[in-house]
Symmetry: none
């Protein structure tokens, strides 16, 4: 038996004053999602634990059945996996942002005006050529991914992941070079390599014609890289060994592909899947239907709901929910003919009036031929709380699903 899981990033929300007290999911009245809630078993889910806000990386680990408290080593390695970089055990990977730093050295835009993926690719090309003759034994790989996002990998001997984040997760503060976070030569060496590389990168970026042009057009230049989330690759027991399911992921964003790739999933690249609100939802859903013909478990990730939340744009979030619901109807149709189980979930809440991740539980629905049908009629944070699943944790979702798929082994007899 097979299953498809739709993850709407950051879809969970709160009462919004601007929506007359409704949540975006309530306001969206998304037909397909509400129909699934009617047919299925609903609940709310603390992706990690009650009240704890989490990132997309730890959230996806939990959704895949891994305990992030045990396996998480930082965001960097997942970005690297997502960008298609094969990490070795001793490599250290960092998540990077293209950012705007002003003449005083103050960070004024952590996303460099959300530069386009194409612009980032051009800037990345220029950065690729940087080598540090001071550290000839260390290989440096930089790869831009989607919009302002990128990944940096240090490969070599005597490195440590205990170095400070350069990205302060705030604007209006001064750029600080990385510092070692533990004693000994390894962290010192790593921090120094990173510092030198980021300096050279700023030089290259400042002089890049694309940035000169952006300034001329009144846009924030992408004139610095900010690193964060450095870590060695995590050790994950492959998903197919853990649950007996061959998994595939369809996503625009590198991080989601990365978490799944680290768990042994195949990544299905879909042209037009951009990881933004302008993604080609229909193409992703078509790809999901195709993938279900060869894979046991297909995860479809939609990023736009989270991006709209970070942009504090309720109308955009509602539109993204509705569009996803409509596009997903094709998957629902196919799943019904093949007795494929459906899960609608999310990796965390991003209340749109706050614009940041929060620790509110997310709604969840499971649909399948023999799933206990409860009395819930709408897929939203409030309706689902009265459903047959009750309040569960993210790490329990896969066992609950695998129980339906007949993939759980018995304890005792």
């Amino acid at each position: 038996m097979k299953a498809v899981m739709l993850v709407m990033d950051g879809v969970g929300d709160r009462r919004c004053a601007s929506l007359s007290g409704q949540t975006p999911l309530e306001a969206a009245q998304a037909e397909t999602f509400n129909e699934l809630a009617k047919q299925g078993e609903c609940g709310i889910m603390d992706v990690i634990s009650p009240g704890l806000p989490n990132g997309s990386d730890t959230g996806h680990l939990a959704l895949l059945g891994y305990n992030p408290f045990e396996v998480y080593t930082g965001r960097g390695p997942f970005e690297a996996f997502g960008a298609g970089i094969q990490l070795e055990e001793n490599d250290i990977a960092f998540r990077c942002n293209f950012a705007t730093v002003n003449a005083d050295g103050m960070i004024i835009d952590r996303r460099a005006g959300r530069i386009s993926t194409e612009e980032a690719a051009a800037l990345g090309k220029a950065i690729e050529d940087i080598t540090l003759k001071e550290f000839p034994d260390v290989e440096i790989i930089f790869k831009p991914t989607v919009e302002h996002r990128g990944v940096l990998v240090l490969s070599g001997k005597g490195l440590s992941d205990k170095v400070s984040d350069v990205d302060p997760h705030a604007v209006g503060v001064y750029y600080q070079p990385p510092k070692p976070l533990e004693r000994g030569p390894k962290a010192r060496k790593t921090a120094r390599i990173l510092e030198l590389f980021l300096e050279r990168a700023r030089e290259v970026l400042n002089n890049h014609p694309l940035n000169q042009e952006r300034i001329a057009r009144g846009l924030n230049p992408a004139n610095a890289l900010l690193t964060r989330g450095g870590g060695h690759p995590p050790k994950l027991k492959p998903f197919h060994e853990k649950f007996g399911l061959r998994g595939a992921i369809i996503a625009g964003g590198a991080l989601y592909k990365g978490v799944c790739r680290a768990a042994g999933f195949d990544v299905i690249e879909v042209p037009g899947a951009t990881g933004t609100v302008n993604t080609d939802l229909n193409a992703k859903m078509e790809a999901a239907i195709n993938a279900l013909k060869t894979y046991d478990f297909v995860l479809v990730h939609v990023k736009g709901t989270d991006s709209a939340s970070h942009d504090k744009d309720p109308a955009k979030k509602i539109r993204m929910i509705r569009n996803t619901s409509e596009a997903f109807s094709k998957v629902v149709e196919y799943a019904a003919t093949e007795n494929i189980y459906i899960v609608i979930a999310s990796d965390h809440s991003t209340p749109v009036e706050i614009g940041e991740h929060r620790g509110d539980p997310v709604p969840v629905t499971i649909v399948g031929p023999d799933v206990r049908r409860d009395y819930v009629e709408r897929f939203d944070e409030i309706s689902c709380a009265r459903g047959g699943l009750g309040r569960i944790r993210g790490i329990d979702l896969m066992p609950i699903l695998c129980n339906y798929l007949g993939k759980m082994s018995m304890f005792g007899e």
Copy 2:
């Protein structure tokens, strides 16, 4: 204050296509149970953890407040306790099935046509006399229990419980003698003793007139024993020390008596309590009422709901639910006059259209004079999920009950 807990084995279920999408509990419309749900506090319960299918042994441990991950040593010892065998610390007990093995050595029926308890007793008599002159220092006890079920105990020095199951939990596979599962002389010796004993048993059974007669009548002979779940006796803190309650159990099946006896319960033998769908429910309920006069906590176990599920017979499961509900009304009446708390629970779900244990949560209801009465009106998997208890774990049930009984000690002050 006192309590009675009714455990309907395997009663939890899913949507059944053959019941127009209802679960057997929904379809049964069992009057007494629904009335209790109305009066009480309801919830759903992951007996072990979400999605994890469990056996009756680990399930009952959890229901009694023991963490099976900490105390479980295998099914064998509980079967032995249930059969009234006093186990010593170094003994190893196995669950046994009378089975049918064909001339090629293939297992064709793991239950030997579900032979009757009387037939099994007669065959057991013949096996009792087997001694192994090769191992004069080891005592071997075999005792049949209910229908095809039995227990084997090895008592002596230098034994190990690390030997493989002979019962493959499947038919159409060849009989395999037990193998040591760890290095060293103990496991080797144990496997060899078991192998020899099972060989002799096959000789005795093959030549037994009762089996000749079964063959003549076209029935599967009980011509082999299959062992599984071997283990040393578990170390359980006695129930009355743990919760301050003197416990008694009323059950037909040996396993349930065994778990409770291992926890220090008294076993109340009820003539007509067979552990099958033909059990005398009224006699068991009468015995429960009597037991409540001397004991603080009485567990009444009903096996028929699980047997009907394994037989994939929804009508039989519904009948068993209704009959139990009706018979239980006398206990409810008595409990009401004496302010005795009532718990309706189950040890696991056995979806009747699958015929095997699954990890779906079970419904649970607690009734008592001061119990928080919620809005639930029916005792079933879907209704109870909206109850005041929410979604709990099996191991939390006894503390929740003991809190009502005033038996919990305070943490902090």
